[in-house]
Chain length 224, copies 2
Amino acid sequence: MRAFIFDLDGTLVDTVYPHVVALQQALSEAGVEVPAWLVHRRIGMSGGLSARALAREIGRTLSPAEQDRVQHRHGQIFLELLPSRRPLPGARELVHWLVENHVPFGIATSGRRPDIDASLAALDLPPDLVVVSRGDVLRAKPEPDLFLACQERMGVRREDVYVVGDAVWDLLAARRAGMLSVGLLCGGYSLEELVQAGALRVYRDPSELLNSLDELGVGGRAPE
Amino acid sequence: MRAFIFDLDGTLVDTVYPHVVALQQALSEAGVEVPAWLVHRRIGMSGGLSARALAREIGRTLSPAEQDRVQHRHGQIFLELLPSRRPLPGARELVHWLVENHVPFGIATSGRRPDIDASLAALDLPPDLVVVSRGDVLRAKPEPDLFLACQERMGVRREDVYVVGDAVWDLLAARRAGMLSVGLLCGGYSLEELVQAGALRVYRDPSELLNSLDELGVGGRAPE
C-alpha cells in the first residue's frame, strides 16, 4: 500500500510568492539585499537555513539574533500580505479522496506552528492527521529528518512513501530519506528543475496529481 | 556594432514577485482565482493580455471594463507592496558601461507610464535614452511591436540587436522580430525555459551579462 507525505507551502497551499516577498523584505531590513528570484529558490528550506544561505550568497553572515529577527519579521510581513490562505487547485479534493479511499498520508513542512495553522485549517484535514513541522525535528529540509519523522509516526515503510513537493529541497530530502518523490509545478519551479532533483513524475498541481494516481500505482479513481 | 534592447521588469529592476502578488490579488478581487505560479508565467505579457489569458485558463472571460479595473488595482496594490525599486545586481553598472563604451541600447517594456517611471529613475539612465512602453505600440509582447519600435527609434539594424529579457515572452517576441536574444534568470524562469524559448545565451543577472559581453561579441571589458 503506497502512502504520501506532502509538503505544505507551494504544494497544498498557494503561499510561495508572498513568502518570497516577505522574506526578501525581512532580509532587506537586516541589511541583506538579495534579489527575489534567489529567495524563491531557497524557500522550502527552513527559515533559518534559507536566511543564512542567502546572506552568505552576498558575502554576509547573520548572527543567531539577526536570524531570529529576520524569521520574526518574515512571519509578520507574510501575515500582512496574505491574511487568508488559498488551497492550490485540487488540494482539498485530493485530501478528501485519500481519506475516502484509506490511502495513508501525512504532512511534513519546514514551517512552524502557529505560522502554519491557517494553512492547515484551509485544507479541511482529518483531525488525527500526522503533521510534522519544523519544531518537531532538529534539522530541516534539505535534511531528511522531517520526512523520516513523518513516515515513522504514520507507521508506513519508507519504500512505500511518495514525497510530494514543489521545491527541489523536498525532492532532494526525499532521496536522502530513501523515498520516491513527485514534483508539483505550482510552487514556481520548472519541470526540468524538479526532474533534475530526482522527481519520479511531475504534475502541475494537486488536481493533476489526483487525476494521475493510476500512474503512481494508487488506483481506483476513474478519469474525470 | 551590436546593440541591446532591454526589458525592464525582472530584467533590470527586481519587480516580478511583487507584480505576481499584486496581479493575483487584483484578479481575485474580480472573482478570478488563479494560482500565483501561473500568474508568474504570464507576467511580461501586457497587463491586459495576461489578465485575459489567466481568466481564460479557468474558463472565465473578462469584459473590457473588468480588464481596466484589474489593471488599475494591479498598479495600486503593486505600489503598496513596493514603494521603492531595487535595481537587479549589476543593472546600474551595465548601463554605465554601455554608455561609457558607446554601445547603443534602449528599453522596451510592457509596462506603462507613469507606472514604470520609478523603475527607470532607479537605473540612472541617460536622459536621451530610447524607452518604448506599452502606450507607444498597438500590440504588446509576445507581439514583436515593442522591440521593432525600439530598434527603429534607436536607428540600428534588427540583425545587430540582442534583446535581453527574463521572460519567455521577451525571447519569443525577439525571435518574431528577427532579433537574437539573451535570457536572464533573475525574473525567476529556469535556464531550460529560457533556452527553449530561443535564448542564444542565458546569464544569472545583469552583473553576469556585463562580465560576459565578450561571449556576445561586445568587447573590451576586462574580466573582474
